[in-house]
């Protein structure tokens, strides 16, 4: 299915052209008490690419996404997002600046329907204030309908029509993951962070999800940072791969380069590392 978002929608017009650096992470260190989750890691993400972050369990992948969207505050290092350098950030402000994400453990609004969950993804794009909302008829309703139309396109795109009105608490795991992707997409993000979008899925669901991720990247030009354990998927989907192990960066490059990197092979084969 070929879905066209109306031209003004989904375009992530931030003055950057494909290939320019959208996010720059410099010498980030993050620890929890004695646990060093991330140690002096630097990398960048370029506009329009699919950037994978891989590594064994506990390597610090999720922590890195949490640092990028302001959920964790690193003790050292800086983040430059669209040319603006920052160290600390509130998550809801990161959202307003176009960073959306999904979670390793699904974080949907269980009391709300699929439709409302995805509509909630557009909260930062809706502008009408309390007074208009109280009156409803007129500007508030018009705005709501515009956003509903955009959300319906996402629902079509992710093939969620049949569960539009179903409370998400009742959905099976695979569909929940898809709704969560829909909610993140609804924000029309400039940078989409996906934390293991295919974990726990069967082969068919994985194929669907891979297709959705590629389509998002191709059709909307959305920049994607992807954490995934399934190496086949990672190698197929991503333009560049960064490898973390025990909080350190041990490899970075194209899928082929990373595959042949001795450090990476050692880390995955469990060769003891000297500390």
């Amino acid at each position: 299915m070929n879905v066209q978002f109306s031209s003004s929608k989904i375009s992530t017009d931030d003055g950057l052209s494909p290939g320019e650096t959208i996010l720059h992470v410099d010498n980030i260190s993050l620890s929890f008490g004695g646990v060093k989750a991330i140690q002096d890691v630097s990398f960048d993400i370029k506009k329009g690419e699919v950037r994978a972050i891989i590594g064994p369990n506990g390597a610090g992948k999720t922590s890195m996404l949490n640092v990028i969207n302001g959920f964790y505050h690193p003790q050292q290092g800086t983040i430059t997002y669209r040319g603006e350098e920052r160290r600390k950030m509130r998550t809801h402000i990161a959202a307003k600046q176009g960073i959306a994400r999904t979670f390793q453990n699904i974080a949907l609004f269980t009391g709300m329907s699929t439709l409302d969950n995805i509509m909630a993804g557009r909260i930062t794009l809706q502008k009408r204030n309390l007074i208009w909302h109280a009156l409803w008829h007129g500007p508030a309703q018009r705005e709501e309908l515009e956003h509903r139309a955009a959300v319906e396109q996402i629902i079509d795109f992710l093939e969620l029509e049949h569960i539009r009105k179903t409370p998400v608490g009742r959905l099976p795991y695979g569909l929940k993951k898809r709704v969560e992707l829909g909610r993140a997409l609804a924000a029309e993000p400039a940078l989409l962070l996906l934390d293991e979008p295919m974990a726990g899925m069967n082969l068919e669901e994985k194929e669907d999800m891979s297709r959705f991720i590629l389509d998002v990247n191709n059709q909307f030009g959305t920049t994607i940072a992807l954490i995934e354990h399934d190496m086949g998927v990672v190698m197929d989907l991503s333009d560049r791969v960064m490898v973390l192990d025990y909080g350190r960066k041990i490899g970075d490059g194209t899928p082929d380069e990373v595959r042949n990197n001795q450090n990476v092979i050692d880390a995955y084969l469990g060769v003891p590392h000297d500390e």
Binding site: R90, H92, A94, F109, M112, I123, A134, L145
Partner: protein, 358 residues
Amino acid sequence: MLYREAGDFKTNYAADQQTFPIKSERWLFWAFMAFAFFVVPFFIDDYWNKAVLMPLLIYAMAALGLNILTGYCGQVSLGTGGFMAVGAYAAYKLMTSFPGMDMFSVVILSGAVTAGVGILFGLPSLRIKGFYLAVATLAAQFFLVWMFNKFAWFYNYSASGQITAPERSIFGIAVTGPSTAPWATYLFALSILFVFAWVARNLTRGRLGRSWMAIRDMDIAAEIIGVSPLKAKLSAFAISSFYVGMAGAMFFANYLGSIEVTEAFGIEKSFLVLFMVIIGGLGSILGSFLGAAFLVLLPVLLKNIMVGYLGWPTDLAAHFQIMMVGALIVIFLIAEPHGMAQLWRLAKEKLRLWPFPY
């Protein structure tokens, strides 16, 4: 699928978001409203007004308010009685300081004052949740009642410590004071409730409502999609208190006429309204009405049966009635934790499939 059985198709998103998407339901609603506005006032008497209708309307307003905060935004409050008191005392001060003010403005402004107080007592919600927040609002309840007792300025230094509503009117018709007609206070309260129930529905169906529900369902994820917890929580406290304050103002001025704060707005009020919201259905506008109706009508009904029909002594009946209501609440919560609104929804689903239940 839901609507197909009714032969009622949705052709655009506007139709899909209507409050009553099914035609027959819409008719039922407006017929009911026409009855409430144009028929009831002709037959209303003082007993019905004081024992049934006014409490029903006013508690429905308070339940709407608490439901916005607790049902939609997930912030538990045990301070409803205290906030009703704020509304009542704000109304009293406004009525006595500005004798020319019409009663509609008095109620709205009392709501606004309570909204301000609500924001203040909502501040702890930015740091604490659940049980701890409940305790903080409980403290607000006791503090507010204590304050209205302690400072004589609030009751204009009257010797009894009570506040009594002077006569005030709207469109030249008295709606407070000793010489009001039952139909006048009834229509006054009904009109305000009608308008603000509609406003509550509007606020909860759009962006604001979704930001509240997002905070309720998962506050971390809410923040990650761009909801500011500060704005969402404090707006819920403000709007909720606005409704509860209006309910308090009407409870004092239009319904009882004269009150003493400890008696009228004690902790039992907080619990009563909370029960209404839970029994009616958390996060449901309709539920607020059903819960209020249940807890206002049931005691009246039980009393009429026990005293009027069975001829029991009143004190025995009163005790028995409290026990029955308590037992029913417990049974209800076990049988249908999602409240009466959910029962209504299930009943509709059954009806729609009838007579082929498959």
